[in-house]
């Protein structure tokens, strides 16, 4: 997931520089541009393009019990698509990603709206945004595992609900299900949705909203026609952050599902653990392809270059 994020940032950076070069016809300037771009390109080729091509290549190698051999075969790919477990994991990954994406958006947007638009003071705005990041001061594992005493059969949620008298039996599906995985992921990743949206919202000139109101538009109209469209680039950036991280997730699902919910990330971990490199490569290629499609689709929603 790190790789994919770097690719997005690196990719737009390179094209921006190339755009400047195209404008200037002066050969000297062009040489300097090439010189400045070279280290970035070399880096990306060595550490991103080549490894990715390697991964595609390795996915066609032949798997022996503990080794792989460079004899090309489709066996690993056939195994992936014919197995209920593995193909099911792909579908599950996509389903959980969509649910978490929706949850982070519907939780994150109102939060961002409050921070970016309703808090006028820039200092307080920054303080509140930093407060959102406070959970990150504890380690990832602790944050995820903390959900166990919350959601467990004898966890906080069940105890409270029982004391109030809303339920007589503890709800068992809270933990070690897809539900708990979604809860855990949403809590961890929602801040990546809040940040970019709050940033875009705080850049909206208050006089625009005033003007819209003076022209007679209702609050809901103003939100729909002015505020939301202007914050859309923030939504897209937030969605890319969340998507790339959720699609590559394996730790949250391992810790909160009792290993019952296997995502593509979990499969890669187990396959690599049992030295099934070729098969792990197939899953890796699939995961990368899904991410590429998702990111490309999200980028079509808003022209991010205009915002730079």
């Amino acid at each position: 997931m790190e790789e994919a994020r770097r690719r997005i940032q690196g990719g737009s950076g390179v094209s921006a520089v190339a755009g400047v070069a195209a404008e200037k016809k002066d050969p000297r300037a062009r040489r300097i541009t090439a010189l400045l771009v070279a280290p970035g390109i070399i880096w990306m080729v060595l550490f991103l393009v080549v490894p990715m091509l390697m991964m595609v290549y390795v996915s066609f190698w032949t798997q022996k019990t503990f080794t792989i051999e460079p004899t090309l075969t489709l066996n690993s790919w056939i195994a992936f698509f014919s197995s209920e477990t593995y193909f099911g994991a792909l579908l599950r990954t996509i389903r959980i990603w969509l649910i978490v994406l929706a949850a982070t958006f519907f939780l994150g947007y109102p939060t961002a709206l409050f921070i970016g638009l309703f808090i006028k003071n820039k200092t307080i705005q920054t303080i509140v945004l930093v407060l959102c990041v406070v959970p990150f001061w504890t380690s990832f594992l602790i944050r995820v595992l903390a959900w166990r005493p919350m959601l467990g059969k004898e966890g906080a949620v069940n105890i409270v609900l029982q004391k109030i008298g809303l339920i007589s039996q503890p709800i068992e599906v809270l933990l070690f299900t897809e539900f708990s995985v979604v809860i855990g992921m949403t809590q961890i990743y929602v801040v990546f949705m809040v940040g970019p949206i709050a940033f875009m919202l705080s850049r909206i000139d208050p006089s625009l909203i005033e003007a819209a109101r003076d022209l007679g538009a209702s609050t809901w109209r103003i939100f729909r026609t002015i505020i939301f469209p202007l914050s859309l680039p923030g939504v897209v950036v937030g969605a890319i952050f969340v998507s790339v991280m959720v699609l590559g997730e394996f730790a949250t699902s391992a810790a909160l599902s009792g290993r019952k919910v296997n995502l593509l990330g979990n499969i890669i971990v187990t396959q690599v653990g049992s030295l099934k490199w070729a098969f792990a490569a197939v899953v890796g290629v699939m995961l990368t392809a899904v991410m590429a499609i998702v990111v490309a689709a999200l980028l079509r929603l808003a022209d991010l270059r205009k915002e730079l």
Binding site: D205, S207, L208, E210, A211, A212, R213, D214, L215, G216, A217, S218, R221, T225, I226, P229, L230
Partner: protein
């Protein structure tokens, strides 16, 4: 003449600071009132209170005879063009102008054909007929100004409030927009109230000019009166075309400034002081230090610093007593430019009848 807007004793406080101090002003139908004031004089606050973006702490505002207390901004029938134009950057020029018609709560125009007709009519009026499809970032500052105006005009407001509408434009565009604004207004017969910190703009645009000072109106009059007979020394200072001398009444029916003394403009002014003696830049004649003043002329000695040529006129800068900068303006259609040598002393002379004295 009927009064369309009647502002009575409006007071507005910000954190205990007085922004508007019992201000009253009336606007007639189809009048163009320009409101001149330095920054911090409360001029933008007044507009915002009239528009309904801010609530006044005391006083009444009546629009066409009815109180607007408690009426929200968009139901007042007042158009407001803000300083930065506040155009919606993500939609086209056409959609910006159409915004009010399509999206207003009360009686939105549902028929797109009707919207198109009215928007195009308005774009035509402001001279942007071909630019409807452009994005806001693809048009110039002057064009943005016109879009902002068209967006407000299309809703047929009774009054339009303009908050420093020409402030963001360069001098050339300013002059052209001034003419445009006049033409549009004559065509539509709408009442305009125009806030500005620029004295030339205020004088050029307004049927009447209101000068705002510390949250109060210092003077409301036609431009000629404001320019030639400012009501107070502070008004004269805002006009930025008077040399001002602080001084006191002398013994010999003269106004004393330091060790110089000037005759009073007229006998009834005599004995005013301590006060301010004002001489307009273009009423002064520069003579060599040795030349004798003509009979009855008043004058001071000053050292020439530099000059500034601006086409139809030239401004000479002198340094008088106490490092005071004095300005002399020659309108070149009446006078020949003169060469003065920097650092030399000259006499600045005027006839006392052209001066003004305020206590």
């Amino acid at each position: 003449m009927t009064t369309i807007l009647d502002v009575k004793n409006v007071t507005k406080l910000y954190d205990g600071e007085v922004a508007l101090d019992g201000l009253s002003v009336e606007l007639q139908v189809n009048e163009y009132l320009s409101l001149l004031g330095p920054s911090g004089s409360g001029k933008s606050t007044l507009l915002r209170v009239i528009a309904g973006f801010e609530m006044s702490d005391a006083g009444d505002i009546h629009l066409a005879g009815e109180s607007v207390a408690g009426v929200p901004a968009h139901k007042r029938g007042i158009g407001f063009v803000s300083q930065g134009f506040a155009l919606f950057p993500h939609i086209s020029v056409f959609d910006n102008v159409a915004f009010g018609l399509r999206h207003r709560e009360d009686d939105p125009v549902r028929d797109e054909g009707d919207v198109a007709r009215r928007v195009n009519e308005m774009l035509d009026l402001v001279g942007l007929a071909d630019l409807g499809d452009r994005g806001i970032n693809q048009i110039s500052g002057g064009q943005k100004q016109r879009v902002a105006l068209a967006r407000t005009l299309v809703a047929d407001p009774k009054i339009i409030l303009l908050d420093e509408p020409l402030g963001a434009l360069d001098a050339n565009l300013r002059a052209r927009m001034r003419i445009e604004l006049r033409r549009i207004r004559q065509q539509l017969g709408i009442t305009f109230m125009h806030v500005t910190g620029n004295e030339q703009e205020a004088l050029a645009m307004g049927d009447r000019v209101a000068v705002l000072d510390n949250g109060r109106l210092a003077q409301v009059a036609d431009p000629d009166t404001v320019y030639n007979q400012p009501a107070s020394a502070r008004v004269a200072r805002f006009l930025n075309c008077y040399n001002m001398f602080e001084g006191r009444a002398g013994d010999d029916k003269q106004f004393c400034v330091g060790d110089a003394s000037f005759p009073y403009p007229s006998p009834q002014d005599a004995s005013i002081g301590p006060g301010t003696y004002c001489v307009r830049f273009d009423k002064i004649r520069v003579a060599p230090a040795t030349a004798a003043p003509r009979p009855g002329e008043a004058g001071v000695r000053a050292t020439f610093i530099t000059s500034e040529y601006s086409g139809p006129s030239i401004t000479y800068f002198f340094e008088g007593q106490g490092n005071k900068v004095l300005e002399v303006e020659y309108h070149l259609s009446h006078r020949q430019p003169e060469e003065f040598s920097p650092g030399s002393e000259y006499s600045l002379l005027w006839s006392p009848g052209d001066a003004l004295v305020y206590s």
